[in-house]
Symmetry: D2
Subunit: 317 residues, 4 copies
């Protein structure tokens, strides 16, 4: 199938938080967006060239295992992160037009949403029953379709992402009913490897470092590759490589861009001391933070050091 530059996928179903994120990512504006059944299916479609990229959750997702995304990045044919996007997780109770809050008896939602909204439900709808569906989007769809529950009656309301109300013609009865006001999910756009986007001064670089041996200090050796070059890490996860519990790799998010001298040298250091390194891309930070670069760690500092070394090696000063 030919690559269609403006066709992207996302982890479905439609009208989920992932679709909501996808619709707001600036670089995907105007692109066609299709849901995929699983993270694996979406990323495989990227690998095969069926789609130009796909949107999947990477951290703190409400629905869908984030570990699944990590494991797809760790194994199989390499892909990279092209963009990251942070979406606040806001739960909305929604119903068919004409339903008012007091009349809600039967609610359907995804188990994670149910857990997040339990306090609100206990206070506001203590007598309502909550059925669990496969996704918040499916829950909204079921309400729209007047799907019948176990008791033979149609569901009155769904707890879903705000986008689901528009999509299924439902109206919000209550918004922001989740417990954690600051809840945010980090989504990423996955593409095939290619030239990285230009450095912006507010960038992240992700990678997987596969340790050579499981010796004490192996992780320390990896981290020193960063610290010696003044590269801060924003996240680290050890993940089994898939060969039994115990052999590990580290998935790392570092501050800076592969084009930055300090990040480049740290990457080369990892390449030398690790069994393998998988580069997962450099991309602009969603939070826009521009952390200060440590003394001696700017591109200018690296250039100066390089000229100096050249003068030592040639004997010209």
């Amino acid at each position: 199938m030919p690559v269609t530059a403006d066709r992207y996928g996302y982890l479905g179903p439609e009208a989920s938080f992932t679709e909501a994120a996808s619709r707001r990512i600036p670089t995907l504006m105007g692109a066609r967006l299709d849901p995929f059944d699983s993270v694996h299916a979406a990323i495989d479609a990227v690998r095969s060239g069926e789609i130009a990229g796909c949107v999947v959750p990477l951290e703190n997702s409400v629905e869908g295992s984030v570990n699944t995304t990590l494991d797809e990045l760790i194994r199989g044919e390499p892909v990279v992160v092209a963009t990251e996007f942070l979406l606040p997780v806001t739960f909305t109770l929604m119903a068919r037009p004409g339903t008012d809050l007091p009349s809600v008896r039967r609610i359907i939602t995804h188990p994670v949403a149910e857990a997040q909204c339990r306090t609100w439900l206990g206070k506001n709808l203590p007598d309502a029953s909550v059925a669990l569906g496969s996704s918040t989007s499916a829950a909204a769809s079921a309400v729209a379709d007047e799907t019948v529950g176990a008791d033979g009656h149609p569901y009155d309301a769904a707890i879903s992402a705000p986008i689901a109300a528009e999509r299924y013609g439902l109206v919000p009865l209550a918004e922001g009913i989740g417990e954690d006001e600051d809840a945010v999910t980090r989504f990423v756009v996955i593409t095939r490897p290619g030239r990285p986007p230009r450095a912006t001064g507010s960038d992240k670089t992700s990678l997987v470092a596969y340790i050579r041996d499981d010796h004490p200090g192996a992780l320390l050796e990896i981290l020193e590759q960063f610290s010696t070059r003044g590269v801060n890490l924003t996240r680290i996860e050890s993940r089994p490589t898939g060969n039994g519990m115990g052999r590990y790799c580290f998935v790392v998010d570092a501050e800076g861009h592969v084009a930055d001298a300090r990040v480049g040298e740290a990457l080369m250091g990892l390449r030398r001391v690790c069994a393998d390194v998988r580069y997962l891309g450099s991309y602009p930070r969603a939070d826009g933070v521009r952390p200060p670069v440590g003394r001696g760690m700017t591109n200018e500092d690296f250039r100066d050091a390089s000229s100096w070394l050249e003068s030592l090696r040639t004997g010209r000063s």
Copy 2:
């Protein structure tokens, strides 16, 4: 509610991989085991003293978010890991007695199991439809109950944990149909803090280190507390502390027991350099590995060093 020493909980539903694990954990033999709706509910019942402990998945679970378990350990009233247990993840296709493999048309299972068994299904039952349920156990129960699917026909077979076949009176049609032969889930028994079990020489210690500031090298500083004392780590995860994306803590599994001198000194080091340290328990390793203790790092070495320091301080040699 009074503490009942021999009442334990586990992450339900019944007949899941978690129950299967719970039934095999030696320290729970003879205990009453009750399912709980969520990791949160189970751990809260431990906190309140309703149950003596609970079994939850910590790594690589087929069903149930492992991050949920981590987050329960990171926040709220402290609890500890008392035991760990590794359960191989084996998927079984099971049906009502009298059903044979070729006649299977409608399958029900959990999405993760479906993903793991897709290859097998494609080869062996290419024409069967697969419906998704909330758990592998619920799927098995639905088959036993002859629950009717969307097409108005009862499901023929479920993909579930082997335990579900016994529980629901089903018979296995095919075993070990998952893709990853070596798949293993790590379960832990969570209890209230108390005197740790005796050191066995094959132990792990888990903890959460909350970094003081998000400065470059903060993680390195934490890891050096271990490496300086020759304590190897088997796992590290950075987790958001729950105050927005960005403030992190590290969940760490280290080799050795809190009673070991090297582990004790590393813990005290963390206590001094971290904003906070939450001890998550010392417990025997499920894999029985007895890693060699580095030169200078045995209890004997620490005792010798302590006597020597005493002689320097008092001037007696």
Copy 3:
């Protein structure tokens, strides 16, 4: 020979910078002070109990090899540093009463003093000849005695420590004629090991760390024992251990006192990872600096960490 608590030695000859330092060290006030021919002779007299202690140069000495002192501390029966003292190095041109500066033709001094005063001599006495003697003190003595030089004439003036003028009845013709205005020599009082002096908050601890193997990172491993406990080093020297060029030990001056928890733990760490550690004493800093103790590194922090560990180990909180 019985130990005489109030008899001390110093590196001779008399009227040298070392005697000048010895006379000003507060803890030696009122003690009898005898010159010794060499650092080795002085320290051996301490070892045998002939004297209670001795004053020798340790850093930046004008006369006498400082490495000799280091090597005495590194090898042989252990001794410790009880006190340190900093003496500004001031060179004085001195002559018999009645001699004036313009008439000075023949000067005698030690080679190091000659080198330090060459600029002043070039400007002020460009035509004077400079003979070299075995010490600045011997030079002053030769002037006092009207010793005859190679040309058959007595020396007119000596460049010596100010103390030599008083001692030999000479008068200063010019003071502070050395090039380096800030030159300072660090002297130490060496004694047999014993109970260290009380911690003052402004202390140093000296030691020798003998590395186990000459592996890359051996020195780093040693330094991490300090940095992990927030102990700053003020000086480090690698010295051959005497078994051929190549096998090294490190002579280290660290901030803090052996009674400080952070220093004690660092010492114990060294004891565990090194082939051997020789404690060279804790003593008040001559410069009186009270460096701030890092966060988490105070005695209070160590006590708190220790109580916390105890509570984890016993299960009582």
Copy 4:
């Protein structure tokens, strides 16, 4: 004065251990060799171009302060080490022809030699007096010239370097009479900076690292620049920079050549994190040791890492 490529200096006087070393250094074969009065004078003559280079002791010298050499390298106009040479330190008792051992009554030598030979003298010439001269060479010369000592009689014998016997027409009465059989002095040839000699696989690189601030961990930060690139150190000395006691620099000998990728990257790292770095040259090791290069640290490994980084940056793989 024009540079004369084949004129070299050495720390005098003639017939000393330094001249002996100079005569054996292969790269100086056929060169004219002139003695200089001091390390400072010799190195200044190199700086001014009066001589092409000079030979001075750097470690463990019998005569002449090694710290003087270090301080000349640390301060003033930069010079580099072009060659190193190890000379066994062998003391010979020598006399005018016709003198036999039992008749020796009056000995003259340098104080360091006297200290080294005290045991031998005590056993073999317990009744001989020992006068101290300014150098072992001057002592031999005094014996040859029948110089008269303090008692009005000429000296019978000198303890000197073997070379002094030939030079002054003396005959050895006893050889190898020093205490330390393995004593070795390390000499270096100092030149103006220029293109370094070709890497041989058995090289050393020397440098001075001036720390930015006197903060805890400053030395550690410096050492990590080496360890991260697998560069082993063979020697480290902290030296005062000359601005009062307390501000330090580190004189470091590292394994490898400035042309080696790992050494080059470590040098650049130092250049970035230090207040200043003074390169003191790369030169073949006198001991001929070819230490194994760590895994991931060869030039090939660095080239591979660099190509890989280039492919990431350009998006071409």
